[in-house]
């Protein structure tokens, strides 16, 4: 079992959230799927979301691309909602387009994909949800009684 702690570091996560252009690989048009919740949340919070799904032409009115390499202008962060077996190829594509971060959502755990991305110079976040982490540090996760772990006496932290 791979030690995931280095891929869940709070500073690493906050640095990743500073990216503006995010490709969401495996974004579903089904409003009840987790990827749809996350993608919609990211659009609402000002991110430049690029849907990646070969079976769809557009989601949220945004053009879909069949894979990471076909995104015009690339993306800084590649957020993955796919089965772990699909990750190594996605990691290679992320390296090829010069992305800075590979973000693997809950249960998308691929030691091979992580190794490929790291060898290509990317930082990797694993088994974390980008929506939850955004809401934890910069959003309003606390309004529903969740434990953000954030403790600070500063006003408007992260605003």
């Amino acid at each position: 079992m791979i030690d995931l702690a280095p891929y869940q570091d709070p500073y690493l996560i906050q640095a990743a959230l500073a990216c503006r252009r995010i490709a969401v690989v495996g974004l579903s048009p089904n409003t009840l799927r987790a990827s749809h919740f996350v993608g919609y949340y990211l659009t609402r919070h000002g991110y430049d979301v690029v849907p990646v799904n070969p079976r769809e032409s557009s989601i949220f009115g945004l053009q879909c691309f069949p894979d990471v390499t076909t995104i015009p202008g690339g993306a800084e962060l590649i957020d993955v909602f796919r089965e772990p077996a699909a990750v190594p190829d996605i990691a290679r594509q992320a390296v090829a387009i010069g992305a800075k971060f590979l973000w693997l959502q809950y249960n998308v755990i691929s030691p091979e994909g992580i190794a490929i991305a790291e060898a290509g110079g990317l930082k990797v976040i694993v088994d974390r949800c980008i929506k939850i982490e955004h809401a934890r540090y910069f959003g309003r996760m606390h309004v529903l009684g969740f434990n953000t772990g954030v403790i600070s006496a500063k006003r408007n932290l992260g605003a």
Binding site: D9, P10, Y11, Q14, A18, T31, L32, R33, A34, F37, Y40, Y41, R44, Y106, C129, I132, A135, Y137, F138, G139, R140, M141, H142, V143, L144, G145, F146, N147, T148, G149, V150, I151, S152, A153, K154, R155, N156, L157, G158, A159
Partner: protein
């Protein structure tokens, strides 16, 4: 982001008790936790309103479901427990009922300790019967009884960290292992220990429930309860379609798949709390959050006083039994050393010579102890369980809960221990004198 905040969970228990959940108010800069005494919240626009109701965005809609003051209390409580979050309720019994209603369906089965608070025993017996859920009470001290009580339809195991009022200390890890081997969560009422004395999640428990009315508040002013989730139970293990499958009560949402580790809490809040309506008031949440700030300080004094009083009583010639599990020679000594190293709480019983009549006279002669039906107050409290808190129980159920007809329950406060001991001593003498 201007500066890096420190990493979460680096801070100690006292710091978290003071700060967790309550950052300075972003609008006014108020340093104390504001009491958001409002029923509802103005939406930014229609799209935001839709996103809140669809649970696509974290936002406030209506105070029956969420409120900023209540949320601060919830986050602080969950932080101290190292849970993923919590949902507060109007009382501890409301919080428990919410767990039953969320996890159970007609035809399911529950295994519970037979040494629970009387109000909980009554709730389990009658509420579960009305929900067509089967129930088996077991002796919590015997792990084998937990195992043999399991049925194919068993959905959860439930016990108290420290039994009320018998003082049974649960072997949490043993019972958690039995629950998990059966694909079930272990739900623990941690009211008597609080997260300062024991954190059941560290020993395998999956859900913790609280009556916050007790040590969490500490002031005896405000009712409240809460459910805290560890967030690691696999609700998609095939035994919990009520959590994993598309919910007809929330337009087909699959709570566990969609919200992962937060799924159970989202369902508890947006379905169960929404439907039961047992919301914690913002004012009570403020009082309870205030209480948590001093929880570790108070618990240390509670525990020290309780140890002193229990030792005094155990050496008193007119006392036949003291149920404090922290006393040397207690049958729970090993479990206390493992699960409650900082102390075995401050609520316990003793039997006074002369039975029921002597007990009634003893209570009447006390000066500092308040005769009332609560525990966990900063003030020392006393009650006669057989005629009050546990009066709905039959003799066999009383015996199972470790209560005799002359048993007296004490909740030791944070006064000076010598004063408490002197009061007990004079009341003991007074009750004996009048008997002669």
């Amino acid at each position: 982001m201007n500066e890096k905040p420190p990493k979460p969970l680096d801070y100690g228990f006292h710091t978290r008790a003071i700060h967790a959940g309550a950052r300075p108010d972003p609008t006014t800069g108020a340093r104390a936790l504001p009491i958001y005494q409002t029923t509802s919240y103005v939406f930014e626009d229609s799209e935001s309103a839709a996103a809140y109701f669809n649970l696509q965005e974290y936002g406030n809609t209506y105070s029956r479901i969420m409120n900023p003051t209540v949320a601060a209390f919830e986050e602080r409580l969950a932080n101290l427990e190292d849970g993923v979050g919590s949902v507060a309720f109007a009382s501890g019994l409301a919080a428990q009922a919410a767990v039953w209603v969320t996890l159970l369906e007609p035809g399911d089965h529950v295994v519970a300790s037979g040494a629970l608070y009387g109000g909980t025993v009554t709730q389990l017996k009658h509420l579960l019967r009305k929900l067509s859920v089967e129930l088996t009470f077991v002796n919590p001290d015997e792990p084998g009884e937990w195992r043999t009580a399991l049925q194919p339809n068993t959905k959860l195991l439930f016990a108290e960290t420290i039994g009320n009022p018998g003082g049974n200390v649960l072997d949490i890890q043993a019972v958690a292992d039995i629950a998990h081997a059966h694909g079930c969560p272990l739900v623990i009422d941690n009211t008597f220990a609080t997260s300062y004395l024991c954190r059941p999640f560290e020993w395998g428990a999956d859900i913790v429930v609280y009556s916050a009315t007790k040590f969490i508040g500490g002031h005896g002013t405000s009712l409240g309860g809460a459910v805290v989730d560890k967030g690691t139970f696999d609700w998609s293990n095939g035994r919990f379609p009520i959590i994993a499958d598309a919910s007809p009560a929330y337009h087909g949402l699959k709570f566990h798949e969609t919200f992962g580790t937060y799924g159970l809490l989202m369902k508890l809040r947006t379905e169960t709390l929404r439907d039961l309506g047992a919301a914690l008031s913002p004012f009570n949440a403020f009082m309870l959050a205030q209480g948590l700030e001093t929880l570790p300080l108070r618990m240390r004094q509670h525990v020290a006083n309780a140890n002193a009083v229990a030792t005094f009583l155990s050496n008193h010639p007119r006392v036949s039994r003291v149920s404090h599990p922290g006393l040397s020679g207690s049958r729970y000594a090993e479990l206390v050393a493992r699960y409650l190293p900082r102390g075995a709480g401050a609520v316990f019983c003793f039997d006074i010579e002369g039975g029921r009549e002597a007990g009634v006279r003893f209570i009447a002669a006390l000066n500092l102890f308040s005769h009332l039906a609560n525990v966990g107050d900063a003030k020392s409290l006393v009650i006669h369980p057989a005629t009050t808190t546990h009066r709905q129980l039959g003799d066999a159920e009383l015996a199972a809960a470790g209560i005799g007809p002359g048993t007296i329950r004490l909740s030791i406060g944070i006064e000076d221990a010598p004063d408490l001991i002197a009061d007990l001593d004079q009341a003991m003498a007074a009750s004996a004198g009048r008997l002669q």
